[in-house]
Amino acid sequence: MKHVKRVIPVTLLLLFALAANALPIFAHHGFQAEYDGSKVIYITGTLTKLEWENPHAYFWVEAKDATGKVTTWTFEGASPIAVKRTGTVRTDFTSNIGKTVTVRAIPGKDGTTKGAAETIKLPDGREVVVGGKRFFGDSKSGGEY
């Protein structure tokens, strides 16, 4: 049982370290507490669902992991109003449900398959904006959207 007792403190330490990596106090938004802006990921899979409501659009992509198992990714975008003002429209999503897309995002800090998305590449080849700048590399600012 000793090895089991060691796992919990390690996990909490890891999670705490991830959470403590959050931003300096002038950050505008919860993004950097929930997501890791120092990493960018690209997820390719099938777009399955969209929620086009405030405060944030959400959409789901089913992608295969390294073992070939299908995992569901949850992506958070900006407010649909802000997204629309970049030229992306709701039908860019709804007309592509069931089709293959690639999402550029920063991953969640809790280890689950989620991300704060910046863009989505659609089957017609267009890459459209769905969120503000999320990936910041070494810098530590965050977006309000």
């Binding site: 690209y42 992608a63 109003i81 809790d110 280890g111 309000e144 959207y145």
Partner: protein, 286 residues
Amino acid sequence: MRRRLGIHAVTAISVFAILHILSGSARAQSGTGQVSVAGFGKSTAQPLSPGGPAPRAADGHPDLSGVWFPGKIGREDLTAEGNPARLQFDPKVTPEEKPPYQPWAAEKVKKLSTLDAEILRPSVNCMPRGVPGMFITNPYPIELILTKTEFIQLDELNNNFRIIPTDGRAHSKDPDPAFNGEGVAHWEGDTLVIDTIAIDQRTWNNFAGWFHSDQEHVVERISRPTMNYLTYQVTIEDPKVLTKPWTSAPRTWSLGHEALQEYYCTNNREEEALKALRDLTEGPKK
């Protein structure tokens, strides 16, 4: 015994998942970080020109009416977050002082955990921004309507509004607290001065935990120096929380040419996600 094994299994899976993501070996390829959409994050949108003199109302005061966007480009641009023209003010040119907290207040703010600070702030929990949050912590457009007797502000964010009489009347005696407080206004030359008290204590004055007391007194100054620009400045006094009054930098809003959209905060998943993360890292709380 079974429950303990279950918890340990979940823990082990979580550790594995975290290491899996961190190692970048997920089917998700990790990127090198180069921006994949040309210009994303470094928009070159230019500030609007002054646009000529501000229009005047019948009484000779500047007409503040219009749809206004924070910053200088007269619109919203998600790709422009790195662009200084999107900012309400340039902290290198006109820096804003940090809130002059009394020691007990500074201690209270300092004690907020990162996650608590996120969960409590209006931009995450969908509570109203209040006054002056609707100007200084609001990235969404507003519409101002100046009538002969009222200053009306419509906020796209949370479909909010406030209506302020501009006849120079005094405050009522002991008004009920409200998120937008009780506001009364008068003109000082070309500047509309809005005086607000009785602001609900759940509003914050910044994103980092600047709470206030029931004695907070907010004075906003709004002018329209040219057709395309609005200048906004606010002074906050709070004898229970601050050591002295705080005044913002002069902040810029620019004229937009589109309608406000409906924005009800009806699908907020973030508060729940942050609470779950907080429970995981700090232990369960309310």
